[in-house]
Subunit: 224 residues, 2 copies
DNA sequence: AAATAGTTTAACCAGGCGGTCAAAATTACA
DNA sequence: TGTAATTTTGACCGCCTGGTTAAACTATTT
């Protein structure tokens, strides 16, 4: 009866995913998950042994789901600027369909940092930086982006897409006061963010002399 | 003995702040707070009645602490670009001293969205937009930033500063693989982020023709 | 059809939780 | 100093939690 097996096991998994995302590991209740799956609480333990193991299964699946979306960064023969446009368009679209994933992951990682290993076990960061740097060596040089600055830029990219979802409730409310809708905001953001970042990259060498020596200089001159 | 009163009440509050930031509302235990304050658990109820009220006091204080940092945005007679530099420098410095505040606030708001009111009760968003727009009308026009795009830009600013702290554990690990230290990353970010954003603003009109008509014209299929 | 193996259930723990309370200790006041 | 008021304590309570178990139920095999 493997058929029925998978059926109930999946029902548990799906219900657990819902509840864990909604309430978090600490706030979630096994009884709540059982109710939502429409079955007896003991079945959760029959298939997953403990709350911890059930949560880990859910966490692993969500982490993978999130990480998979970064794969296109490795595509060869694509201009850096096109990757940026593609990233913002696709990643924001993905998060529109899964708006609670960022907050879930960030919170659970902060709550239990040992899960970072679980999250990073499936990615090879070193080769990520390598591929990115070698694939776009010329373009990055043109932008005056040094090797040490790549993380700064990448963090800006991720921050711009992820943060609005992590602060979703707050941002919704703030936008509403200006008669703006969150969904319209996101739709605009797909292109605005790309234009913004590309504009910054193309022109950073004009507005700054990126020497460390300049760091604390307050008086700047008027622009051209 | 109002002196001793304040003393123990503050000890409770401080211990509660620690524990709530560390474990969150759901994960925090009254006994844990009492232990950390070095007193009997009943005293927490004597001074704060319930876990809920104690948490609310802590949440309110942290929300205010965070919001106060946005006040300089209202300063008159300061160039927009200088405000941006000031913002990144001061806000990142503030968060370096309070690195867990963003994750705490974001999580608790997501977990219980009704707290948004509590968070926003102390700020007047409408006049925030108004002041910002009128104070920097000329500069924003020069940047080709329309009224509707201001939230996009502001969200980018906040995202760039806050996200690294919300994803602190993860980012630390990622940077370590490139032999970079989180603190150095933040130090660099104070100036890099400012240069990046200002560069973007100064040159967006060059790289884009920001007509609304263009916004949705990418050769993709019609959206919903 | 009977025995076997796998699935689902209800009843039931032990421990931990937020919260209460009466008594003890301390302080304030006359 | 004596007494009233306040602060602090430990013992306690009812409830909820994750988890267990034996029995009931269902499907599979012979």
């Amino acid at each position: 009866m493997t058929e029925k097996d998978k059926q109930t096991e999946d029902k548990i998994f799906d219900a657990a995913t819902e509840v864990f995302i909604e309430k978090g590991m600490d706030g979630a209740r096994m009884q709540d998950i059982a109710d939502r799956a429409g079955m007896n609480k003991s079945l959760l333990h029959y298939y997953y042994r403990s709350k911890d193991r059930l949560f880990n299964a859910v966490f692993e699946m969500i982490a993978m789901k999130m990480l998979k979306k970064f794969a296109p960064v490795f595509d060869a023969n694509v201009l850096f600027e096109d990757k940026i446009r593609f990233f913002f368009r696709e990643h924001i679209s993905f998060l529109q369909k899964n708006p609670r994933l960022p907050a879930f992951l960030l919170n659970e990682i902060n709550r239990n940092p040992s899960r970072i290993k679980q999250f990073m076990a499936n990615i090879d960061i070193e080769s990520f930086w390598m591929i990115l740097f070698t694939q776009h060596k010329e373009e990055l040089k043109k932008y005056h982006i040094t090797r040490e600055n790549i993380p700064q830029v990448m963090t800006i990219l991720v921050a711009i897409t992820v943060f609005p979802f992590a602060a979703r409730g707050l941002l919704k409310e703030i936008l509403a006061k200006q008669n703006l809708k969150f969904d319209d905001f996101l739709e605009d953001r797909k292109t605005f963010a790309a234009d913004f970042v590309i504009s910054a990259l193309q022109n950073m060498h004009l507005s700054t002399a990126e020497d460390e020596s300049k760091t604390k200089n307050h008086d700047e001159k008027k622009r051209t």
